[in-house]
């Protein structure tokens, strides 16, 4: 069995796995892992010195460090609206008889694992932030929310929406609001808000794809497909590959998301249509991921992650500014062909 990647410079095998190979692998695997660790450290240092991603990179990234582990705590609001509620499962604790508790626990773990293994990030703040979540918040509360400190999940209205713990991409979506809060800090209004929403959809989908081991071609590119009930006329809350087609419901109306800037929606509702116009950058990301192929987190995800950490991306960044950041990130990490692919996608959706 070979452990040599086709393109060592783009190796995404995390350092802790390489270190395990050094410790436990065959002689050939040890040699390869040592060479890759050395190269990986050089590349990471080079990116720190010349790349667009915002510093600081934790010093531990360049040396052997213990593998970061999630510190999860799940609480139960028991239908009330008082946070955090009663603690029902701590890190390493036995599964609960309550499905929502386990879904929240696993979803937090999957999100933590995706960010750690694909992007080298240590939790929401990249500094090991403990992850806390409350389930069964309120009565028929049809929402999930990152409140700046913790996750909160409702049980849904029971007609259109079930428990919001059921969709791993929604859990990834919400926790990514925390990541954005600690990185670009995109203001939740108008285009920067739609970009904030889109970032959460992109990484929410990546968390799901990562957990399922799916390629871009295998992914459904849907958000919230697992929490809608039979009473909901549609397949999901949003479609990243075909914005505007996720539902057509007698109560909710038709999915209002545009796929291109030509159909951009100007509205005062929903903080300036943040959940509507996010369809445009969502589609750009989907186009890039499917064009580059393979696992979306390996190239497309890395490009978007680096762009989110680009020092020139800040609270008031609009679609075009973020598109430029993705071009810089693609060029820096993967060269001309990837950069051209990214430009083509943003052009297709009318941003560039």
């Amino acid at each position: 069995m070979s452990y040599r990647p086709a393109q060592p410079a783009q190796c995404i095998i995390p350092p802790y796995l390489l270190e395990a190979l050094v410790r436990n692998g065959t002689a050939e695997q040890r040699d390869w892992a040592l060479r890759t660790l050395s190269l990986d450290a050089s590349l990471r240092m080079a990116r720190v010195l010349s790349g667009p991603a915002r510093p600081p990179v934790a010093p531990g990234r360049l040396t052997a460090q213990p593998r970061p582990q999630p510190q999860r705590t799940i609480f139960d609001a028991q239908g009330n609206e008082t946070l955090p509620g009663r603690e029902v499962r701590a890190e390493g604790g036995s599964p609960s008889a309550d499905v929502a508790v386990n879904e929240a626990y696993d979803g937090l773990g999957d999100t933590f694992g995706c960010y750690r293994d694909a992007f080298g990030r240590d939790s929401i703040d990249d500094a090991g932030m403990p992850l806390r979540a409350t389930v069964h918040f309120g009565q028929a509360w049809d929402n999930a929310q990152w409140n700046g400190e913790a996750m909160v999940f409702g049980d849904g209205d029971g007609t259109l929406f079930g428990s919001f713990t059921a969709s791993i991409d929604v859990i990834g979506h919400e926790l990514t609001h925390g990541v954005t809060q600690y990185e670009a800090g995109l203001a939740y209004l108008d285009q920067s808000g739609a970009l904030n929403e889109s970032i959460s959809d992109c990484f929410g989908s990546l968390v799901k794809q990562f957990a399922l081991g799916q390629t871009a071609a295998q992914a459904d590119w849907l958000i919230g497909a697992d929490l809608v009930l039979p009473g909901f006329h549609g397949s999901a809350l949003r479609s990243m590959s075909a914005p505007g087609t996720a539902y057509d419901d007698p109560v909710l109306g038709k999915d209002p998301q545009p796929a291109t800037m030509r159909d951009y929606v100007s509205t005062a509702q929903d903080n300036g249509g943040v959940h509507i116009n996010s369809g445009i950058p969502n589609r750009a990301f989907c186009l890039v991921a499917t064009a580059l192929g393979g696992h979306s987190w390996e190239q497309a995800g890395t490009i978007w992650y680096d762009a989110l950490r680009d020092a020139r991306v800040g609270p008031n960044t609009r679609f075009a500014g973020f598109a430029q950041a993705t071009l810089r990130a693609a060029q820096h990490a993967y060269g001309d062909a990837a950069s051209a692919t990214v430009r083509s996608a943003w052009t297709d959706v009318g941003v560039l």
């Binding site: 609206e81 946070l83 918040f137 309120g138 509360w141 049809d142 929402n143 999930a144 929310q145 990152w146 409140n147 700046g148 909160v152 929406f161 919001f164 929604v170 979506h173 919400e174 609001h177 203001a187 939740y188 209004l189 808000g193 904030n196 929403e197 959460s200 919230g224 809350l237 949003r238 007698p250 109560v251 909710l252 109306g253 005062a268 509702q269 929903d270 903080n271 300036g272 943040v274 959940h275 509507i276």
Partner: protein, 117 residues
């Protein structure tokens, strides 16, 4: 002084689902006691700071919201014409605006969900 409401509608947008939900109640469908309760709730929700989502009213540009919090728009139709009151985002998990929440609870109990146009 404004006249009694004929119809009260609350539209909710936002949330991670990003879908709009609409609840509405016709005053003529209510008992005298329920109508009095509705008038009291509407008056409380129309109080300037509540109507502005806890923020000073009449700001020229809305403030950025909280990710995936709900936002509410209340519309009160009166005999003297329409009056629209816009509320800001309501962060259900942190600082609910009690007056709006109570009115919404009333509409959910006595009103009907309406299709989004």
């Amino acid at each position: 002084m404004s006249s009694d409401p004929l119809r009260v509608t609350i539209t909710r947008s936002g949330g991670v689902a990003g879908v709009r939900r609409v609840w509405s109640v016709e005053v003529r469908s209510l008992s005298a006691e329920q109508s009095a309760e509705l008038r009291r709730l509407v008056a409380a929700a129309e109080e300037p700071r509540a109507a502005a989502g806890g923020a000073p009213p009449n700001s020229s540009r809305p403030s950025p919201g909280v990710p995936d919090a709900f936002s509410y728009t209340m519309e009160v139709e009166r005999r003297t014409g329409h009056r629209r009151t816009v509320t800001g985002p309501v962060t259900d998990t942190a600082a609910p605006i009690e007056a709006v929440r109570r009115l919404l609870d009333f509409l959910r109990t006595y009103g009907t969900p309406k299709a989004v146009g």
